[in-house]
Every structure is written in C-alpha cells, then in structure tokens.
C-alpha cells in the first residue's frame, strides 16, 4: 500500500510551473530521497504534499485524497521538518516538542496527560532526556535539530517530510541524525520523504531516489541506478566519479577546470 500517491501534480508560482506533472508513489515505510539541483522543485513538491501551496492534479495520502482532509487530519498523517525551522530562543525543549501535539488538540484545548506522554516519549527517543527545561537558545545546532525532529515525532504522524534535514550539520551530526531517522523508521514504521543535496549521504540511507530537474521527474529508482556519472553531469553540471562503497554508491567530485566560453575574462581581470 502506498503512503503517498501523486498523479500529475503541478504547482505554479507566478504562473510558471515549478513542479510540472509529477507522478510519484511512496510506499509505506519507505525512505525516499528527492534529489536534484537548486531550483529543481524539491522543496515546492514537499510543500504541495504538506498542503502548503495550491496544486493541480491529485495527491492521495493513506488512501484518502489530500484535498478532502482538514488541516488537523492532514497534520496527524504527515509531519514536516522544515529546512529552517523557527526555534524561539526563550522556548524550552519541552514546550517546543509539546507543540507537536497541536493537531491532536482543538484550538481551545490544553495538553493532557496523553499529550505529555507522547512528547516525553519523543524527547527520549531523540536522546534529549534532561533537556526538557533547557531553552532552545542555549542548544547547539545538532541538539536543536533533534528537538525539531522530536516535535515532528510527537505529532505521531506516519509520514515525515524533511527538507534538507542535514544541511546545517557537520558530518558527524549528519550521520547521527540520519541513523536516528533510519532507526525511528524501523521502530515506528515511519515513511520518510527527504529532499537532500548530499548525494552520497542520500545514497547511504534512502531506499529509493527521485531525481527532479526543472520541476519534472527525470528518473527514479535505487540509488545505484539513479546516481550515474552521466545523469549527475547532465542535471547538476558536475563531473563526478560514482564509486561503489559497501553495496551503496558514493559520489565524488572530480577535479576538472570548468570550461569557459571563448573570450571569457574572469571578472577580476576585467578593465574598469
């Protein structure tokens, strides 16, 4: 059964299609990486699935048309980890994670025992025990990222959409964060859809990859099939070597001078 089904989804921003007739199927419990160069439409596609931008075509979540879902229903099916989440510095980790319970509460209701339990569980799953009373402003980048994921987990949604979940982390924290997401996926049967720039990291963790360019799906499949030297060159304009590593692949940039148009002078050397 599919967790998410998109058929010919188009999103126009300023009249221009940023996501163009995308068909996509994400299986239950699958980890799908959305890859593609800057401006390929990854973030916009995630926003469409989250119901944050109007779209044409159809999106079906858990067998139900997303358009017919109310905001709270949508948020109970699907949590979002934005690329640059807003983390008010005065807010404590406990308060922040509790906000993940919003879709389970009416606008006038207060959090109950069950909500605090769910939040406490998310806090300890993300190894944030003892951080409950710490203010977000005092956390490091990696800790903050864990708080954000904990909030998404407290939402108790089956699907988590992540926009560049590791872009602000160093390699150690990147690895930690992705391992953690992977183990959460296994334990709780989460479905993960992550827009990712780091192709090697994406190849290590994702079951499947979808390469977007110009708003369209170019190719999808297992990482080793999608990440070929030719495809990376065409769509990223980068010369790379794709190296097999432990059953997966790594993408290594190859040193090569960028060909310049004839008659080109670097800006520094141009006469005023």
């Amino acid at each position: 059964m599919s967790a998410i089904e998109l058929s010919s989804v188009t999103v126009r921003l300023g009249g221009r299609p940023v996501v163009d007739a995308v068909d996509l199927d994400v299986g239950d419990g699958e980890w799908l990486a959305l890859i593609g160069p800057n401006g390929a439409g990854k973030t916009t596609l995630l926003r469409a699935v989250a119901g944050l931008v109007p779209y044409e075509g159809s999106i079906v979540l858990d067998g139900r048309p997303a358009r017919e879902l109310r905001r709270t229903e949508l948020a109970r099916l699907l949590a979002v980890v934005p690329q640059e989440p807003s983390t008010p510095p005065w807010m404590t980790v406990g308060e922040y994670v509790l906000m993940g319970r919003t879709p389970h509460l009416g606008p006038l209701a207060k959090e109950g025992r069950e909500d605090r339990e769910a939040a406490a569980h998310a806090v300890s799953r993300l190894d944030l025990d003892g951080y409950e009373e710490r203010r977000l402003g005092t956390l490091s980048g990696g800790e903050k990222q864990r708080a954000v994921v904990a909030r998404a987990l407290a939402q108790e949604a089956r699907v988590v959409l992540l926009d560049e979940p590791t872009s602000s982390l160093d390699i150690g924290h990147q690895q930690q964060a992705l391992e953690l997401l992977d183990s959460l996926r296994e334990e709780s049967g989460l479905t993960l859809v992550a827009a990712m720039h780091d192709l090697t990291l994406a190849a290590q963790y994702a079951d499947r990859m979808t390469l977007l360019d110009g708003g369209r799906v170019v190719v999808e499949g297992a990482p080793r099939d999608v990440l070929t030297e030719a495809l990376v060159e065409v769509h990223y304009g980068a010369e790379v070597d794709v190296v097999p590593v432990g059953g997966r692949v790594a993408v290594v940039p190859r040193r090569s001078p960028i060909p310049r148009p004839s008659g080109y002078t670097p800006p520094r050397e141009r006469p005023e």
Binding site: R47, A50, G51, L52, R71, T72, E73, L74, A75, R76, L78, A79, V80, P82, P85, S86, P88, P89, W90, M91, T92, G94, E95, V97, L98, M99, G100, T102, P103, L105, P107, L108, A109, K110, E111, R113, R116, E117, A119, A120, V123, S124, D129, E132, E133, R135, G137, Q155
Partner: protein, 356 residues
Amino acid sequence: MEATAAQEQQRAAVRARGLTPLWACAAVAFLLVAVVTGVLVGPVELGFMRVVESFAAKLHVPGAVSPLNETEEAILWEIRAPRVVLGAIVGGMLALAGATYQGVFRNPLADPYLLGVAAGAGLGATIAIAYLPEGLRGQRALPVAAFVGGVVAVSLTYAVGRSARRERDAATLVLAGVTVAAFFTAWQTFVQQRNTDTLQQVYSWILGNIPSTGWSDVRLVLPYAAVAAVVILALRRVVDVLNLGDDEAASLGLHVQRIRLALVIAATLGTAAVVAVSGLIGFVGIIVPHALRLLFGIGYRALLPLSLICGAGFLVLADVVARTAFAPAEIPLGVVTALVGAPFFALVLRSTRVGP
C-alpha cells in the same frame, strides 16, 4: 515499578510554562496595590481604613457602616472608583491587544494601533468634535464616532490586505495597515486644520486621558473588552504556535488565517472600544508585554494573561501620576506612559539577558 516512576518524572519534565500560581499572585498583588493607590490618592484625603469600611458597607457586610460623609462617598464611588476601574480596563486591554498583535504578526514592534485602529478612531473623534453640535458631541457621540472610525479603518486594512495578489500573509496585512493609517491620519489632519477652533479639544483627545465621568464609560467599554479578553485568552496556547510562522503553524494542523482573523477581530474590537473613551494612549501595548517578556522569558501562553493584569495596574498608576503631578492640572496620560515607561523599559533592556 521503577520504570513507571521514571516515566512519571519524565512526563512531569515535559511541560508548558503557563501562568503559574506564583506569577498570577504577584501580578494580581501589583494590580491591587495600583487600585488601592488609585482610590486613595487625590486632593481629598479619604484614608485607607475608612475606604475599606465604606467598601464593606457597599458589599452589605453585616455591621459595616460607611464612615464617609455624603461628599466623600460621592468622591470615592462616583469619581475615583470608576476612573480607576476604567483605567484598569483600558490598560489591560491595550497591553493584551499589543501582546496579541506581536504574536500574531511575529513582530516585536507591533502595537495595538498597528492595523490603523488609532488613525481611524482619531478621524472619527476629530469629525465628531469638529462637526457635531456642542450638545451631542461630548458624552454620547464622541466615543461612538471614534469606535466606528477605528473599526472601519481596520476593516479597510483587511480588505486591502486581502485584495493583494500575493498570499494573504501577515506582512501584507501590516503593510496594508500602514497604508490605511497614513490615509486616515492625513484625512484627520485635514479636518483638524479646517476647524482650528476645536484644535485644542482634538489635541487633548489624541494625547489620551481617562475621563472622570462616572460609571457610564465603564459600562460602555466593559462588554467589548471582556469579550475580547475571553477570546484572546482562550486562544493563548495557539498564539505560541502561530508565532512559529504561517507555514509551520499550518503544518502543525492550525487553520492559520481563521485563527489570526479571530484574534485580530478580538484585539481590534477591544482596542477600538477602549480608545473610544480614553483617546490614543501610546506605549502601554508595547512596553508592558516586552517588560514581562524580558523579565521572565516566557511564551504567549503566560504572557497574555500577565499582560492583561499588569497592563491594568500600570495604567492605573500612570493615571495617578497624570492627575496628581501638577494638580489640579492634568498631564495627558499618553505623555505619562511614555515618560515613565521609556526609562523603565530602557532599564529592563539593560539589566536582562534573556531576550525574547
């Protein structure tokens, strides 16, 4: 057994800091001190115990007889008490509306007048003062005209913000508010310049004061302020979520536009009502929530109720200064709030580390 105890402890650690009993008591104590000061201070000495006895008699406490004579009774119950109560309502409402706007628009500089309510009320009041016959003007027509002006201005802001082709986000609305406020202020200035004979009156209304007009103004304002406060306080948990930004609030399942509209309507109606009787008292809506935020580093859940209580106390005290500093002349209340408020705010800003 041990595991459950640990779980229990952990669950207790995950909590939202709402209004704790300690803070609530401290805020109410501050308000009480302000109210007692407001009732006792004035040209006629009433005495604390005598006021208490008169209050007991009013409450029909068995055996209590008011020691005040008829004039003193009138001073206490027809002049000072209503003025203190009105000041509390105005101050509480302005601080609460200011905090609400700051949360809803994610803008620390937002004040209750952000969407044009002050400019609209100013125009309404100026028109009433300039064109209505003397008899109609004073008590009845002026507050109504100011209230209508304020509500019309904010409605116009919403209409302009809505017609923008971009998504109806908070920033668009704030820009629309600036536009509408500029337009109404220009119009108000025009009317005022055409009628220079009423300049003095318009000017003193704009600077703000709490009128000593008995209970009629309290009755006029209280229903609006009460409804506004109930709506805002009921939604206080959600204001923190809204403060994360439209996208995140929406992905947490919030109907952002609907809730923002409810909060803005409540804050605007409350502000328009209090401004209609008190004029444009500035600064309360910014300084009170910010001082609380800087002192305690708290979210809107606790900030909103605290703003209501402390704003009430703050304005009652400011009004005491306004009417006694140069007695029998009164200083405009807006001048006092800024003169007292600005240095205090600077002090808070200097002496604190927990930023908003």
